[in-house]
Symmetry: C2
Subunit: 333 residues, 2 copies
């Protein structure tokens, strides 16, 4: 409660830009910030295969300004960053497979557009505070578990390489130009408004869709270990990083209180759902070669430095997510 | 001698493409490969501020094919990689300051063009063997000395970030697509044919120019420690990495048998030259903020895995370099 009040104070009446603002995490963040009284601009490209969805901000009505444009549109971004107090920089190409099939698009979005956004901030709004959504994908296959921020980065796909560069542009502009920027390395984030149409971004989305549709789903490599962050917890981490000047120049893992195998996760999901079926199989070849094996984060740094902790247990988060899609699935297909 | 014979055997009659082939390291590599009987194509953009210089291959005459084009020219590169046995991928934007003033050009050359070259190899010549010239700049400010390949990468300028991505594209294409590629993280390489016109690429170049011209030169941060690789030793490392399949997917530091402060280096240079003057001063502000402090490499990995060792002592290398520029300085201004 104390934390919530302090955060609300940091953002009320402030002008805030969210790239990817109609996407899964962006829209959940927007909802929280609207409650806090922030003045929001949401930028989104609405590229059909990506995560942007106007239904994600249903009910926010006139409380936010929506600007449909692509982060690759440098002129649009140079205009939009002006006058903003905070930038939550969440827009990105997130599909690992797409990045292998079309590495240039991934490069343009995850590298060049990031540089352009930072250049725009440096030139037009150097007082802005930026939080960048990075990813644990950049670690590649872990040497040791859990993975902390001192683990080597050895990305296993083009997306991971480009996200690594995008993250480091932010840290560099913080260190060299005095822009205030930090990065969160998100692990598997899940919850209402995630993309569930297919497995392009996360397997958990398609599991949930098929379960709600009463169909069996497939679990690949059931013994693989993962951690999952409920979206409200990821949103709180983003807010904490934005509010705290101690975060500037920092890179922080997000994790979970629970580590679970994919097969156990599937069983838990079926249990929470009150029924459902799945089969376990090996990875398809095109996935196997960019797979990272077991992963779970050591997130003690953000807990210690920013006071973050995950609040929503996995069972509870899955229940909320299933409830959301039982009601709204048609809006996500 | 054994090593030289084995290497010559690996390359004689083979078709070899060198990007940046008219530059400092590329041209020295070309000279060695011509002696070995290789069939060479040298690609260079001859962008005036970069290192390409037709005088670098003076005397090679009809022994090499020169193709003037830019690695950003995807169509040119897609044609040129075809039918080649080896690619020494040395073309790059190397100025740290330029990368801060014009980050997009650095991105296009050091990231996008690298992806395009690798895509061209994957599609048109998957049997090619590639060696990429990476840089110790990607380590940023060392935590510990000497720096080995397990040290975290924390680049301090846009060039470092983009070179990090470029290096990883090579490793990724090796790991995922079975292209055979490795990367050498070069430290300060020096010798005949280096750029000496100004300090854009290395301070040592402008020191040598001013010394040969009989003018005083400036040493910034004289106590800073560095290591230096003579170009013939760097060339041998490139050849060893190309010839050895054990190098595939590997990343190797190059270093030196000697670590020296910049002020001691300046004194040594003056001594070898038989006279000269320099002054020591603090870093200018724009350099200071992207400076990495002391650096020297732990290069035991390439010594153990590929049998490399630096053969030319610093005093000897500096003497050869000064002798070259006493004769040819006008060709480099």
């Amino acid at each position: 409660m104390e934390l919530t009040r302090a955060l609300a104070h940091a953002f009320a009446q402030h002008r805030i830009l969210i790239t990817g603002g109609l996407g899964f995490i962006g829209a959940n963040l927007a909802r929280r910030l609207v409650e806090m009284g922030a003045q929001l601009t949401l930028v989104d490209s609405l590229i059909p295969e990506y995560g942007g969805n106007l239904f994600n901000i249903a009910g926010l009505d006139n409380a936010v300004r929506v600007n449909i444009s692509d982060v690759r549109d440098e002129h649009s971004m140079a205009y939009l960053v002006q006058g903003q107090d905070y930038l939550f920089n969440l827009a990105g190409q997130t599909s690992h497979l797409d990045s292998m099939q079309d590495p240039y698009t991934d490069l343009e979005i995850n590298c060049r557009a990031q540089l352009a956004i930072l250049e725009a901030c440096r030139k037009h709004n150097p007082a802005i505070k930026i939080v960048f959504a990075s990813t644990r994908q950049i670690y590649g296959r872990p040497d040791t578990l859990p993975v902390d921020e001192k683990h080597l980065l050895r990305p296993v796909d083009v997306n991971g390489i480009n996200k690594m560069a995008g993250e480091w542009y932010h840290i560099l502009y913080n260190n060299v130009y005095g822009l205030r920027a930090s990065a969160l390395r998100l692990t598997n984030t899940y919850g209402p408004r995630m993309r569930v149409k297919d497995a392009r971004q996360t397997f958990l989305g398609i599991w949930i869709r098929l379960l709600v549709e009463g169909k069996p789903f497939e679990v690949w490599e059931g013994q693989q270990l993962r951690d999952f962050t409920y979206v409200d917890d990821a949103v709180e981490a983003l807010l904490l990083a934005a509010a705290a000047d101690e975060a500037n120049g920092g890179v922080f893992n997000l994790g979970s209180n629970e580590v679970i195998s994919l097969e156990a996760l599937a069983r838990l999901l079926v249990d929470v759902n009150g029924g459902g079926e799945f089969t376990v199989r090996a990875f398809p070849a095109d996935r196997k070669r960019i797979d990272i094996g077991d992963y779970y984060a050591d997130d003690r740094l953000i807990r210690a430095e920013l006071g973050w902790q995950p609040r929503v247990p996995l069972r509870e988060g899955l229940a909320r997510t299933l409830a959301f899609y039982r009601e709204h699935l048609s809006r996500y297909l």
